[in-house]
């Protein structure tokens, strides 16, 4: 047992990766990173060293939190700026939730950076890659450590920026630039809800400190409509970041980024920031019936919808992207039934097996040059390590006993059964769909005959791909093995519910009774595993045994197939109808025309009128003395007549 972690060390967790970012950027600016073999990889080593240090310090933070049973270790806030009587602070806080998040972020990040040494080798953007990865890791750590909501928002936006930069890492591809722009804009729409929530809570309570807001909400010091709107605003932000329906459309496209990026940012860490946010403000959500119901409904819709889309996707990374969306929906569902411990526990296990799935997909891509599962097949023979580790991850995702996913998914199901049975059945249906797409993915990729792959289009492997796929280098395999070990074992840490205690230890007293607490139910575990195996069996029958032909299934269900292929028409709705139709052709064009023709028309019209009238008036100034004389004469008559009006009228006898 170590001493309680001092504040300076907590800050160091956050600033080490930022320091690595600064050093790499500076070195790149000065042109120091281009020559020699050691310097060429300097940025990678530096990033790993910084994140490894952060990881060790995070363990210290976890140790301190364990001693406090998950309660908050608050540090004094520091003044950032003062505007008149308003003070903005910055500060860090560590509690059970934060400590678990720190471990997830630093450990997965470290493994991914290690893996990237192999995957990104020879890429011309190698330094840029590690600079952005450092920046991302630092920002993500800042997000979970923030002690006030505005500071959290700042890091929230920074991770969004890193996501944008890394999705668009190969910016010279048309698809990458589109995906990056889409990701930024869609998440930003949610973020504006988040920003509105911050403005609202500050206007109403003068508080930005997260602990204070939790306390006020839990003790009923904030009006219920304010709580609801605040929570819904936060949830808009969370839905954008965590790709919840209807803002999920960016995540499948985000797979344009390098695969390690997808593993770290779009599976294990950044996309769970939304779940983290809802958990962080759990005392606020739980006291608002409307808000918590919104979370559970959106989570349920997302879980089922995304799982159904995963079944038809042909790109292995897209399958996993939909899977991630679906699992994030599970976490939201868990939060929505009040099971914060189960939600974060699932976040924790999911981070490892989903990162592993992505890294496995990256390894497969490294060998075959493609992400299209229809061009793979039979890889189990060529890539045994990748095959085994990916299978472990897939089974963990399905929730097969005793892998990590089993424990966390089971806990969600138990809590759902205790609180909202309807949600239980939805979640169980989700388990079946998950099993089907996982089975399909495994059988298409690793089973059957090899179908040839495709020429690689990035990195040093561009011209050197052998005719047969080969296993990846050890730098890529080692993280796979480590993650597979974790995906097998991390489920046991919570077998006694110890993790839940830490995760719930920081909640305000008043909230405790609202937290869901279901006990282990044997039949639920048995049923969920059985449903999972049934789904895998169906996938086996269709994609391996070919007892049922996939074409026949899709022909029989043609309308469904079309609906799924079009991704429920949501992309079409957003892109064609809203962006192109309403905004570009409608509002923007209308305002532009208004500017050109109405406002400018009035101005130019006024100018024309002046010119026209002065041209007419000019005719009067002809320079002819007779005309001027006549005008003067008439004028004199008029003036005299008006002055002598009465006399003149008298003369004529009126």
């Amino acid at each position: 047992m170590l001493n309680q972690i001092p504040e300076g060390v907590v800050w160091a967790i956050l600033f080490l990766p930022f320091g690595s970012f600064a050093v790499i950027s500076l070195a790149a600016l000065l042109g120091l990173t281009r020559t020699g073999s050691w310097e060429a990889r300097f940025s990678g080593y530096l990033t790993m060293a910084a994140i490894a240090a952060s990881f060790l310090l995070s363990l210290w933070a976890l140790d301190s939190v364990l001693q406090e049973d998950g309660a908050r270790i608050g540090y004094d806030a520091h003044e950032w700026v003062t505007v008149g009587s308003l003070r903005f602070d910055i500060g860090v806080t560590v509690d059970g939730l934060t400590a678990i998040m720190l471990i997830v972020v630093t450990s997965v990040s470290l493994l991914v950076q290690f893996y990237s040494q192999g995957y990104m080798r020879g890429d011309p953007g190698y330094n840029r890659y590690y600079a952005f990865m450092s920046l991302f890791t630092g920002s993500m750590l800042g997000l979970v450590l923030a002690s006030n909501i505005l500071q959290l928002f700042v890091f929230w936006e920074l991770v969004g920026l890193c996501s944008y930069l890394l999705i668009g890492f190969w910016f010279y591809r048309d698809s990458a630039r589109r995906a990056a722009t889409k990701a930024f804009v869609v998440t930003r729409i949610g973020d504006l809800g988040f920003l509105s929530a911050i403005l609202l809570i500050w206007t109403k309570t003068d508080q930005l400190d997260i602990g204070q807001i939790q306390h006020l909400a839990a003790t009923g010091m904030i009006g219920s409509s304010v709580i609801t709107w605040f929570a819904l605003g936060l949830f808009a932000g969370a839905a954008g970041k965590s790709a919840q329906f209807p803002l999920h459309v960016w995540l499948p496209d985000a797979m344009e980024g390098p695969t390690p990026v997808s593993a770290l940012i779009h599976a294990a860490t950044m996309v769970v920031a939304g779940v983290y946010l809802v958990a962080r403000f759990f005392p606020v959500f739980i006291v608002s019936e409307e808000a918590i119901n919104a979370v559970v409904v959106v989570g349920a819709i997302t879980a089922i919808m995304a799982a159904s889309l995963a079944i038809v996707a042909t790109d292995i990374k897209r399958v996993m992207a939909y899977s991630t969306i679906s699992q994030l929906g599970y976490m939201m569902m868990a939060l929505g039934v009040g099971a914060i411990g189960a939600a974060i526990f699932h976040l924790f296990t999911h981070a490892f097996f989903k990162a592993l799935l992505f890294l496995g997909a990256g390894s497969v891509n490294h060998a075959t040059g493609t992400f299209d599962m229809r061009k793979m097949g039979g890889l189990a023979r060529f890539m045994p390590v990748t095959f085994l580790t990916t299978t472990v991850a897939g089974l963990a995702l399905v929730g097969v006993f005793p892998l990590a996913g089993f424990w966390s998914k089971d806990e969600i199901l138990i809590e759902a059964w205790a609180e909202k049975p309807l949600i239980f059945w939805t979640a169980l249906a989700g388990v079946f769909l998950t099993a089907v797409y996982v089975g399909r993915m495994l059988f298409l990729t690793f089973g059957g005959e090899y179908k040839g792959g495709e020429a690689s289009d990035h990195g040093a492997q561009a011209n050197s791909r052998p005719a047969e796929p080969h296993e990846s280098p050890w730098v890529m395999l080692l993280p796979l093995v480590v993650l597979a070990t974790l995906a097998t074992t991390v489920g046991f840490v919570n077998i006694t519910g110890g993790m839940n205690d830490i995760l719930e230890g920081w909640l305000p007293e008043e909230t405790h009774e609202l937290v869901a607490a279901g006990d282990f139910v044997l039949w639920i575990s048995v049923v969920s595993v059985a449903v999972g195996l049934a789904g895998l069996g169906l996938a086996w029958a269709i994609y391996s045994r070919k007892a049922i032909r996939a074409e026949e299934v899709s022909a029989a269900l043609e309308p469904v197939q079309v609906l799924l292929d079009r991704k429920y028409y949501l992309d079409d709705l957003y892109e064609t109808v809203i962006v192109k139709g309403v905004i570009m052709r409608g509002a923007a064009a209308a305002l532009h025309a208004w500017d050109r023709y109405v406002i400018d028309g009035v101005v130019n019209g006024l100018a024309s009128l002046m010119r026209f009238s002065s041209e007419k008036y000019r005719l009067a100034q002809s320079g002819q003395a007779q005309l001027y004389g006549a005008a003067i004469f008439i004028g004199v008559i008029v003036i005299v007549a008006s002055v002598l009006q009465d006399e003149l009228l008298g003369i004529v006898g009126l």
């Binding site: 505007v83 008149g84 804009v185």
Partner: protein
């Protein structure tokens, strides 16, 4: 330190005189003089900003009053004097001007056609800008205001570029004339307002502190406030009197666009704050809902119009209208935090829009087109240009850590406290900003490389330096805004006459 404010105005005027004495066959000498005097202005403006400290009362420092006309005709004691001082609001504005003109000199380095005359006009304009920010005498404030506006006509008409865009053509002469007519129209309103104020106050002076001590009749305030607000507002891009601004920005040469959008538009907002809100608080209260409505309309309208643009410079021009709408929103809240945000936004928008215009200029100088659909993948050829442009854009869409966010956050807090509907619409405008900025970046810099631009080169060193200077301040204010806020907020509280209480 008393001399420093006078020096800020005298340096550009002195440089103008030196330019006039240089024979036009020595263009390099002209550039060197411009560089030296530009640096002197930058250094002095930094000095003023750093040395400025609020010391109670009205917060004016470095006060310098040179009598000019007094005790003659209708003028009493102090009648008209060159009264210069700086407070927490003008200090960041002076700094902004120093930064933008210094960067502008680097950007203007390659101007070959009559570069002597160009710098004469540019520096004359800058002396006017400093004069407005520093004057505490309505007469001189108005005088400098005109000095700042009028050179624009020649700068655009002689060194500008016309737009030909499909069926749409806009000659530079049209843009120049439109700009001057609009702004002179605004001046006419201000002129009437100044004389009305002078007569009503009956103090026989144009000195602002003296005029500020008078309490004006409420009805008088209600009548005079809109004269100033509209007159100055036109220069600030007040909707619906904004159309001169995109046309003017587009036609102007790069450095003039930078100064114009970056600094000159701020004169309008500054005038509203310095004169209208300071002298006529009740008039301001009465008209605030109208000002807020026009501000929000401008913010949304500019953002949506920017989305429709294919010309890079028009896009930046309309984004300026949108961002100046935020400034007016902040002013209209009449709360400490909102007005603070307005001043912060004036600075933030100044540096980031100057950067954007500089980068558009860097592209245009080589490519000679500005249609964003004709580019693609330029980041491969010009990574620094792309990075600089992206930073300006990210600041513009309000990314935390950059200047724009700090300002917009203050404005939104102020708006949510006073007119929540306006705050919500302002946030909507910010969302649209993200869309058009990212679309533009994707279209111009990312995606497959358009081989037509194979000959494109990275920015010149001067452009890189000018851009880096602007970026340094964007990041500085984004990460550590305290030096700005400390200076601004005390003066704003004085103007709004709030004590320790109030939002």
């Amino acid at each position: 330190m008393d001399w420093v404010l006078l020096a800020l105005i005298a340096i550009p005027i002195g440089a103008v005189l030196v330019f006039m004495l240089i024979p036009s066959r020595y263009p390099q000498l002209v550039r060197n003089v411009a560089l030296v005097s530009g640096f002197a202005m930058f250094a002095l403006s930094v000095l003023v900003f750093v040395k400025y400290e609020f010391e109670g009362g009205s917060g004016f420092r470095f006060d310098l009053q040179l009598a000019w006309l007094e005790n003659v005709a209708f003028l009493g004691k102090d009648g008209i004097s060159l009264h210069l001082a700086v407070d927490g609001i003008s200090a960041p504005m002076v700094l902004l001007t120093g930064i933008v003109i210094f960067a502008g000199v680097f950007i203007s380095w390659n101007i070959d056609y009559r570069n002597k005359d160009y710098f004469v006009l540019l520096f004359l304009l800058v002396s006017g800008v400093f004069g407005v920010f520093l004057s505490l005498d309505l007469f001189f404030l108005f005088f400098f205001y005109e000095v700042a506006v009028l050179p624009m006509y020649l700068l655009i008409a002689v060194w500008g570029t016309s737009s030909h865009f499909g069926t749409f053509t806009r000659p530079k002469e049209y843009a120049a004339m439109k700009l001057v007519l609009y702004l002179v129209g605004g001046s006419a309103l201000i002129f009437v307002g100044i004389f009305a104020t002078f007569m009503e106050a009956g103090q026989g002076t144009f000195d602002l502190p003296v005029l500020g001590a008078v309490t004006y009749d409420e009805n008088f305030q209600k009548v005079v406030f809109p004269l100033y607000a509209l007159g100055f507002g036109i220069l600030a891009g007040l909707w619906p009197f904004h159309t001169w601004s995109p046309d003017g920005h587009v036609a102007a040469p790069t450095a003039v666009s930078m100064l114009h959008a970056g600094v000159l538009m701020k004169l309008g907002a500054f005038g509203i704050l310095r004169v209208a809100i300071t002298l006529f608080p009740e008039g301001a209260q009465f008209w605030a809902p109208v000002l807020m409505t026009l501000g929000v309309t401008g913010a949304l309208y500019g953002a949506i119009s920017a989305m429709a643009q294919r010309d890079l410079k028009y896009m930046v021009g309309y984004s300026s209208v949108s961002h100046m709408g935020f400034v007016l929103m902040g002013l209209a809240t009449l709360t400490t935090i909102g007005v603070n945000g307005a001043v912060l936004q004036m600075f933030a928008h100044g540096v980031m829009t100057a950067l954007m215009f500089a980068m558009v200029g860097a592209v245009y100088d080589q490519a000679h087109v500005r249609d964003m659909t004709m580019f693609g993948g330029l980041a491969q050829k010009t990574p620094r240009l792309a990075a600089f442009f992206a930073i300006a854009g990210l600041s513009s869409l309000g990314l935390p850590g950059l200047a724009g966010f700090v300002a917009e956050f203050h404005i939104f807090v102020g708006a949510f406290n006073t007119y929540p509907w306006a705050g919500a619409l302002g946030i909507l405008a910010a969302a649209i900003t993200a869309t058009y900025i990212l679309r533009m970046l994707a279209m111009v810099f990312f995606g497959p490389f358009n081989e037509r631009w194979a000959g494109l080169k990275e920015m010149r060193r001067g452009e890189q330096f000018g851009g880096a200077l602007l970026i340094a301040f964007i990041i500085f204010m984004g990460v550590w805004p305290a030096p700005f806020i400390d200076r601004i907020s005390e003066s704003v509280e004085f103007i709004l006459r709030v004590g320790a209480s109030g939002p």
